[in-house]
Symmetry: C2
Subunit: 337 residues, 2 copies
């Protein structure tokens, strides 16, 4: 259990230790697979890939594959490669997102595109996607291939959808939900569905795990959105204001715009649509959100999806795996308060 | 047989009519599949995809899948979706290449990234790649999935390799061959290999078709490289000088650099490595290539790979399919003279 360095720092956070302990032996194998499958004679590939892969992401998505496989009593080895595939799909998305968003930073480090250029981010992303599909094919489960390849298309569709709502303050809550359901929740859902699929469990159990992942993914993204404006805590964490500076329309904005005065709507149009951001506009944005309880209610909406995730798992009998998966829901939501 | 508009204009060119006639009914189904699988509720997706898909590419790669399936007597329907997948993989690569190369034009039209932005090119490319994998999974042949997913990873690897040799006039012929083998020939090889795989033919026949496609792909790329400097014809076609302006190192440059004088090597370093291109530098480049027979010998090298492609097919008995596939080799090479 030596290789899980990026996880240890997270071990102190409440709610996820149970899962970390349960998946730890499998996760070491996943990390090994990630390392060996991002190797290439073309040295730029492992350089770029490892820059991001070793930057301390939580690896929540591959953990969902391992945990749902555990929950369903799977005893084979296919979940290791599928978990690594899921992480590669996620990493590829991050690399491409950085190019799309023209981001300078990612996970507190310079974005890969700042160090190696847009071209490396695009192409190494493509390489990881190719490796992800190769690993899935090696596992050889057509149902799992179907779920994961569909997710790949849906994620890209969601990203394009996000482009078309970008900077549009008129975006409705439903439109926004459709975006995050596709661009974030689809991979959480797929990652959780391949566990019971590998274990050849019943349709109901497969649907349950997918529903768990999908709703957890929505909750996760909503909390991320709230955290980008500091959540409900008065102490601002890192990365606060990124979405604001990039003109991203997220649920806290959607709610604040709808609930706001004419003058406040003018403010959102100026800052997010036109990108004219002055000195203390971020502070004004956060104050306006607090005035309308937009952050509290974004977190409240997340709780709703968290409850759905939890209920989806209810048909499984009590087990350490089920207990740990439920704790993940709390872990995701508690980050914001 | 109504939908094959982009093909008709090519029907006059020598050497490919036989293939066009043979694949025509299947190609209509492939075109239909391409159209329906690039559809999406997110309207930007079909807009961007169709901009490129309907821009009159030859669709040579999907034709190889159809033709090798025909050669091997395949009687199922899987080759239609696999051919469409191959074209989607190719289209995704073109969309990503435009971002990587910062190209303004593609197939005589404005590149998609100029009309919809880099972000749309990256993400619609990802969407098409996702759809390609979905279709392959629907066909359900694990051996075909293995071949095509490996090709996806190798293509991306080749593109990154190209980045690392970019603007390096010291690139050797072997290095350059490794790049085009990966970034171009791998997809030709995979497109040709899935035909006999679907038809469950012998290992020798599968290897033969793969060898045909791979060597044809190398020949095709070398001819493209020669054409970018006008080939051996004195009349310059369209797109002449694109590679030169982008500082791309291709075989005509590799040969001219090695065979050149010290002063000529200085010229290549100034124009391609430093990108300092003045008034009649392109004419000088072409004249230098002619002086060293660099274009003639690039075409000669292409003939060598063309001969290998032809010989690979020799173990198949005579048939209209074999005849047509051999003609494709001539068609590809004759473009340059």
């Amino acid at each position: 259990m030596g290789v899980v360095i990026p996880l240890e720092e997270k071990a102190q956070e409440p709610g996820i230790e149970g899962l970390l302990a349960l998946v730890s032996p499998d996760m070491a194998r996943v990390n090994q697979t990630i390392l060996s499958r991002s190797a290439s004679d073309v040295s730029m590939i492992p350089e770029v890939a490892n820059h991001l892969i070793s930057s301390g992401g939580k690896r929540l998505r591959p953990m969902l594959t391992l945990a749902t496989a555990g929950l369903c009593g799977y005893s084979g080895a296919g979940h290791i490669k599928l978990a690594a595939s899921v992480e590669f799909m996620h990493t590829a998305t991050l690399l491409h997102d950085d190019v799309v968003d023209e981001s300078d930073m990612r996970r507190g480090k310079l974005a890969a595109r700042m160090l190696w250029g847009n071209e490396a981010s695009v192409l190494v992303g493509d390489f990881l996607l190719g490796q992800a599909f190769k690993m899935m094919v090696e596992v050889g489960s057509l149902p799992c291939l179907e779920v994961l390849s569909s997710a790949a298309a849906v994620i890209a569709e969601g990203e394009v959808m996000q482009l078309s709502v970008a900077k549009d303050t008129q975006t409705s809550e439903d439109d926004y939900l459709a975006v995050i359901r596709a661009k974030t929740a689809a991979l959480f859902g797929a990652a959780s569905e391949v566990g019971p699929l590998l274990a050849e469990r019943s349709k109901a159990e497969i649907t349950a795990c997918r529903g768990y992942g999908l709703n957890l993914g929505i909750a996760f993204q909503l909390i991320d959105d709230a955290l980008d404006y500091g959540g409900t805590s008065s102490a601002l964490g890192k990365n606060v204001g990124d979405d604001f500076r990039e003109g991203k329309i997220t649920l806290p904005v959607v709610l604040s715009f709808r609930r706001g005065t004419q003058k406040q709507r003018e403010f959102w149009r100026r800052t997010l649509e036109k990108g004219e951001i002055a000195g203390d506009d971020l502070e004004t944005a956060i104050a306006t959100m607090h005035q309308h309880r937009a952050l509290e209610d974004t977190i409240e909406r997340a709780r709703h999806y968290g409850a759905m995730a939890r209920d989806a798992l209810e048909l499984f009998p009590a087990s350490p795996w089920k207990f740990a998966l439920n704790d993940v829901v709390d872990f995701c939501i508690d980050r914001a308060s």
